[in-house]
């Protein structure tokens, strides 16, 4: 029987009653993001009834200790603050299960525990397994979930898995990981999380494009000159992150996932409907249509990699990348990368997409800027500088989420001179600061069975296929493209500027 009260109340899919098992429950992600996200979902009244979280980790600790650690974390990180009354009820559903990730017995006892919860509830529940552990444990976890029979829901119920990035480190490892995951869970029950897709502004890209008749007719190579996607960070390797980062690099850590997701949203064709697969079908077409960069020469012409040397950011002196904590002093890992990408489709023929991402840049900002072509002829006498300026649509992903449009206007006065002006929309000044955290949206979607904002297997593998060619040119060719340098606190290496200036363009000033 359908719940008759649900139908008229909700504008979105409702999360279904379930138990969430978090692997790596004592880690930073659980404390800073996952538990505060579940708590805030509860505070909004969106958490399904009889919800439970089971933390699965190696250290020994009773439920009470686990709960009090999470409570302390929630007080610190919860978006809507912390209420003791709500926490008391919410925490009743939090449990801890100690086990090694590679110990089958631990999974068998987990099954007993989950069955016991189901019995107490009087109904078998759905199960969501969240892999927040280190990636090297993904494979044994999958295998043992399967062996313990936890990968299938009880009759009429579901079992799903949420995977945190990285989804492999190249195409081969991604395929292996995906094979392992798909041997345990159906692809339709697999949710690869990319928190960029949970951000309001990323979701707004589709609304901006497909709900406004103003933009979509101009969204092609007839009117758009080029697109830039920038993800700048003003931090380096603080907090010991150098250890992981030095094995990954900017291309794998950011471009393969987050920035390709943004690129897909900007460049995709309109989906036929808003079902998860319709949207993801269109996104994957973009990645598949990326013109491959084969060989060191093509990579050198289109991709710039760099490391920062010592400099200062926000007036604070910073060491060079190779001097950072836990970074190999002879590291060949890039912490800055700039790419010129071409998408071989009818819509985007001849339109370059420039992507740059880097550490120790002057400020933290992620944005997409769409640069429109200049008018064929401007009948006003004005400076060459202004004649060269184009209309630009900027979509700010973070921080200060919003949209800005730069246009030319007549400057007041007797003369007919022009001036650039900016129309600027800020989410927070118009809508307040009530946006849910990306994880709240994504966890709700996973519990509701909506995979639209999650990466599908073919998206991930096609992205790796493209990235692998660049990695091959950098690390396996006889004449690898050079590793460039830039001072910390600058906007990247001069070679990245040259990448655009060779095309008669320049990076947008952020």
């Amino acid at each position: 029987m359908e719940n008759p009260f649900q139908e008229t109340l909700f504008q979105r899919n409702r999360a279904e009653p379930c138990t969430v098992v978090i692997f790596g429950a004592t880690g930073d992600l659980t404390h800073r993001k996952l538990i505060p996200a579940f708590y805030n979902i509860a505070a909004c009244g969106d958490l399904p009834p009889q919800f439970k979280v089971v933390g699965f980790a190696r250290r020994d600790k009773p439920d009470e200790v686990f709960r009090s650690e999470l409570e302390a974390a929630n007080r610190k990180h919860s978006r809507q603050g912390h209420n003791d009354e709500l926490w008391a009820t919410f925490a009743q559903g939090i449990h801890y299960h100690r086990s090694e990730f590679q110990d089958l017995e631990g999974y068998k006892s987990l099954k007993v525990l989950l069955d016991q919860y189901d019995q107490e509830r009087g109904t078998p529940a759905n199960r969501l397994f969240y892999l927040a552990s280190a990636p090297e444990f993904f494979e044994p976890i999958m295998q043992l979930l399967r062996e313990a029979g936890l990968n299938e829901g009880a009759e009429g119920k579901w079992a799903r898995v949420v995977c945190e990035k990285p989804f492999g480190k190249d195409l081969a490892s991604a395929r292996k990981l995906n094979d392992t995951v798909n041997a345990t869970f159906d692809e339709s029950d697999t949710y690869r999380i990319d928190h960029y897709l949970g951000k309001e502004t990323a979701q707004n890209i589709m609304v901006l494009r497909f709900a406004n008749a103003l933009f979509e007719p101009n969204w092609n190579n007839r009117y758009i000159d080029h697109v830039q996607i920038t993800c700048a960070e003003n931090l380096g390797m603080e907090g010991g992150r150098g250890g992981y980062y030095d094995t990954a690099g900017a291309l794998r850590d950011m471009v393969q996932n987050h920035l390709f997701q943004l690129l897909s949203l900007v460049a995709m064709e309109p989906p036929t409907d808003l079902s998860a697969d319709s949207v993801r079908d269109e996104k994957v077409k973009v990645i598949r249509a990326l013109r491959p960069l084969i060989g060191p020469e093509a990579v050198a012409q289109n991709v710039i990699r760099a490391q920062y040397r010592a400099g200062s950011v926000d007036g604070v002196q910073r060491v060079g990348y190779r001097e950072e904590d836990r970074v190999n002093p002879e590291s060949k890992t890039e912490c800055y990368v700039a790419l010129r990408l071409m998408i071989d489709t009818w819509r985007w023929q001849g339109v370059p997409f420039y992507i740059r991402v880097g550490k120790q840049l002057p400020k933290k900002a992620t944005e997409i800027s769409v640069h429109f072509k200049k008018p064929p002829q401007v009948p006003f006498a004005t400076s060459k500088l202004l004649l060269n300026s184009e209309n630009t649509l900027v979509i700010r992903i973070q921080p200060d989420e919003g949209i800005a449009l730069r246009i030319l206007c007549k400057q007041p006065g007797q003369a007919l001179s022009m001036q650039q002006v900016k129309m600027d929309f800020h989410y927070s000044s118009s809508f307040g600061n009530a946006s849910p955290e990306a994880y709240e949206r994504l966890l709700l979607d996973a519990m509701a069975g909506d995979a639209t904002l999650f990466a599908r297997r073919d998206e991930v593998e096609n992205a790796w296929k493209f990235i692998d060619e660049i990695q091959k040119a950098w690390h396996k060719s006889d004449a690898p493209p050079p590793m460039c340098e830039y001072p910390a606190g600058s906007w990247g290496p001069v070679e990245a500027d040259n990448l655009l200036s060779a095309d008669g363009r320049e990076w947008r000033l952020l």
């Binding site: 029987m1 359908e2 719940n3 008759p4 009260f5 649900q6 139908e7 008229t8 109340l9 909700f10 504008q11 409702r14 279904e16 009653p17 505070a43 909004c44 009244g45 399904p48 009834p49 009889q50 209420n83 009354e85 709500l86 009820t89 919410f90 509830r121 009087g122 109904t123 200060d400 800020h426 927070s428 000044s429 118009s430 809508f431 307040g432 009530a434």
Partner: protein, 361 residues
Amino acid sequence: MPTATADPAEEAFAQLGMEVPLAQVDKELKKLWEADNAKTRASLINFAIYSEEIANLGRNNALLDGITAQHACRALMILSRPTQGQPRARAWINALCRPYQGQQTVCCEQISFLLDGGDAAQVQNIVFAHLDSDLPLVVWWQGTLTRNFEERLSSRIATLIVDSATWANPCAEIDVLTDAREHSGEKLDIRDLSWTRSHFVRLALAACFQDQVACASLPRVEEITIRHAKGHRVAALLLGAWVAQRLGGVLDESLPGFQFRRKTAGPDISVTLEEMADGHALQSLSLNGKDMTAVISRDANSPYVHVCGSCGDHRQDEIFPADVESETELISEQLSRAGGTTLYSSMLPTLRKMVGKSGCA
């Protein structure tokens, strides 16, 4: 400048900002922004409060301050005194500002009008002349829908907010709303704060029956009991009607009280209201039937409701956010909800019948 008269409310007008000649409102607003470059004007809607009660002036002024902190809008506050002598209008402007990212200030414009001795045309002219163009008009009409609420005005309103808890004669008000909606070709989006007061109770009820065992017990529901505070009878009636209708019930006017006959097999459903002298607007909702019960109750001073249900051996006990109660929060809740809702409007015919059974004034 208009000449000030010895109005007893003059002191209250002083808090409305700077008085300006009616014809100079736009010009003076422009000056307001030019005076300070650090201020950014933000506006997504035109939000108007209409009242005919001078006593509401201070309260509405404070409300707008709270509402604009959450919702960027051009705020229009209209105080109409139709019986107050010769037609005359006065205007005040103000900027309602809040800090934004440390350096800037984001502000909304507030324009307040005092309309004495006028009619519907005067209200319309004032409203239409001072809208932020291209933005939708949301009107919170406080109290009775008087003769000033007429078709030319309602046809321009995108969303009309009313509070049926303040109606002396709900039958007449529902009739006015039904007519206005009919005239608008069903386009007028009507929101009632009494309906908003039960939003989270309804969410909690829906969540309670997400569980399949609980859901399977719904055809056995025979009694719906709602406990409400004095003055919130309409909120309770709306809630009772909604629950009964969702269970497939149709009000049988021939029977005493509020009896709903199911369209499908199952027992009739009776809706009973229990009025308390004070406390939260809606204090509990109980569904009872053979071998099942579900109670959603709110303790005094708690921001949460407790959901307690049992079906045979199956029990559940949950906590959910409770409904907001202050007018600022209720309005904010409405303005946060994008898109129109036809649910309330579809409930009006049943509500009218239930109100009618209690006797119309």
